[in-house]
């Protein structure tokens, strides 16, 4: 299972040639996740280069969300979950005793499947939540504006920052959650099917956004939609039954997959 991102240089011209040589931003080595006796992610190794987008695809229940949540230690919350292997961010393993999962999560942000703004907070307070809840003082108004602009939501909400976050539409709420994640300036952004609860127009906005965010962040996105993976990502990883079957440049995965199972999946024979 040695399908590293750097193995397909020709089909991904967007990636700077130098980036392939540098240390990967995120490197996963022999990652295993169990829920009690259920082996959800099996012996997975892959690497993601800085300022690229990795799409993780696969049928339901293949372990792709579980894999993603292992990258910022969200499984710490689940008592029966057990994780082995290494996840390196900038060469540092997250699963050692010295790493504080709380500080880690400020570097590796996450956007969830369903928009989950804090219902008791206004739009503005939601964006600043990461700062306020962590007790970080400073010019929050500036951070709020910058984050909302990055999330392409500023123009739609600038006149009603004090309104309830739940008064926004689903697509706006999801962009608000992206703005909230960006406000604490993470380096890596994990997205767990961020558009699955949204209509096509809102989905298009999120995808456009991913393209822009890539310049400053490293993004790993789990998606059900192969079209979406093809549109937004530089590299694609295909998971099946908890295993990483194949990873490569997105174009190669969709046009010339090496593995039979990948081909069957991307051509719609199953899944």
């Amino acid at each position: 299972m040695n399908a590293l991102a750097s193995s397909a240089p020709d089909s991904a011209p967007a990636v700077a040639a130098g980036a392939a040589i540098a240390t990967p931003k995120v490197e996963v080595q022999k990652l295993n996740v169990w829920f009690a006796k259920n082996h959800a992610v099996k012996d997975t190794s892959l690497a993601v280069q800085v300022h690229t987008v990795l799409a993780v695809i696969g049928p339901s229940g293949c372990g792709k969300s579980t894999f993603l949540r292992a990258l910022n230690r969200m499984h710490d919350l689940v008592p029966v979950a057990r994780v082995t292997g290494k996840v390196l961010v900038d060469g540092q393993d997250l699963y050692t005793r010295e790493v504080d999962p709380v500080l880690l999560r400020r570097r590796v942000g996450m956007v969830f499947q369903r928009p989950n703004p804090f219902p008791t907070m206004s739009i503005e307070e939601n964006v600043a939540a990461g700062l306020v809840l962590n007790g970080i003082s400073g010019n929050h108004a500036e951070v709020v504006e910058r984050s909302l602009r990055k999330a392409a939501l500023w123009d739609e909400v600038k006149d009603r920052l004090g309104h309830a976050a739940t008064s926004l539409s689903g697509g706006q709420q999801q962009r608000l959650c992206i703005a909230r994640a960006l406000a604490i300036e993470p380096e890596v952004l994990l997205m767990d099917e961020p558009a699955s609860a949204l209509d096509p127009i809102a989905t298009a906005k999120i995808e456009e956004l991913i393209h822009e965010l890539k310049e400053h962040y490293t993004i790993i996105i789990v998606t059900h939609s192969m079209q979406q993976a093809a549109r937004v990502s530089d590299h694609t990883a295909f998971f099946y039954m908890g295993e990483l079957v194949e990873m490569g440049a997105t174009e190669q995965i969709f046009t010339n997959p090496k593995e039979r199972r990948t081909e069957d999946y991307v051509t719609g024979k199953f899944g």
């Binding site: 709380v102 219902p119 907070m121 939540a129 004090g162 309830a164 739940t166 959650c177 994640a181 604490i184």
Partner: protein
């Protein structure tokens, strides 16, 4: 066709039955309100709220000291009971799956079912006997003991219904566990928790048994925690069991004041829990 007619009959019959049950449930409620207002309203006056009680036969006089005593003891009980109750509820919801949590939950459930007179005896043994006399403190300890288990159970339930997705959202922002519990989870459940607090307070404000042999009574003003203190409920009790007509009238008026106090607490909980944000759903 016969079946259809039968179903239609059953439908009407059951609807009428529900209506009758509704009326039956309203009769005691309406009669309590009617009796208390019709018999108590006549005695309401500024003096009734501000004056000390007068001896039998003398005109005028009020229950000012009892009103202040009730507010004072309930306030003291809140200071002790609300933080402990809410804190215990948060603990049960967040960490309540272990042995300690299960034990605490069991104890709280049992305690919230204990008759209030028993709690009065406990407070008598714990506070009155060591201090050697009746006191406001003893009364409020009894009330606080009643508040804690009730509030712990309701807070836990309110916190457990906060969606996990909010906890995840907070933790994914790099917020620590305890800050997430207090600033996100508890804040989201706050509307319900405030209501639960006010209902707990309203409940103990109407208690007589735990005050009878803890705070006892007092014919004068008192705000010292170590002195016996009058309360509305004990005043009603004393006036009602007396053989004098004018004291009976005072009992009704005091009951009306107590009802208004409890009603005010309920109303406050409604006002406080309105969503402050525009466009909130």
């Amino acid at each position: 066709m016969r079946h259809f007619a039968f179903r239609r009959f059953m439908n009407v019959f059951m609807t009428v039955l529900c209506g009758v049950a509704l009326v039956a449930a309203f009769i005691p409620l309406i009669s309590v309100l009617y009796l208390v207002i019709s018999k108590g309203a006549a005695g309401l006056s500024w003096d009734f709220f501000t004056q000390l009680p007068k001896p039998v036969g003398e005109e005028g006089g009020g229950i000012g000291n009892a009103l202040v005593g009730t507010l004072y003891m309930v306030g003291l009980a809140c200071l002790m009971g609300l933080p402990v109750g809410v804190g215990a509820g948060v603990f049960l919801a967040e960490r309540g799956d272990g042995t300690v949590g299960k034990t605490v939950r069991f104890v709280a459930e049992v305690l919230s079912g204990v008759p209030s007179i028993v709690i009065g005896i406990v407070a008598y043994a714990m506070v009155v006997i060591p201090m050697r006399h009746f006191s406001a403190l003893a009364g409020s300890v009894a009330l606080a003991i009643m508040i804690v288990p009730y509030l712990a159970c309701s807070t836990e339930e309110l916190i457990r219904v906060v969606p996990t997705s909010l906890r995840e959202a907070s933790l994914a922002l790099g917020v620590t566990n305890w800050r997430t519990s207090l600033l996100v989870i508890l804040r989201t459940a706050m509307t319900g928790v405030v209501t639960a607090c006010l209902l707990a307070v309203a409940r103990v404000a109407g208690e007589t048994a735990p005050l009878l042999f803890t705070a006892l009574n007092n014919q004068y003003w008192n705000v010292s925690p170590v002195q016996p203190t009058a309360s509305l409920t004990v005043a009603i009790y004393n006036y009602a069991i007396s053989p004098y007509e004018d004291w009976h009238a005072k009992a009704w008026t005091a009951a009306l004041v107590l009802l208004m106090l409890v009603g005010l607490l309920n109303l406050t909980s409604r006002v406080l829990t309105r969503n402050r944000l525009k466009g909130a759903r």
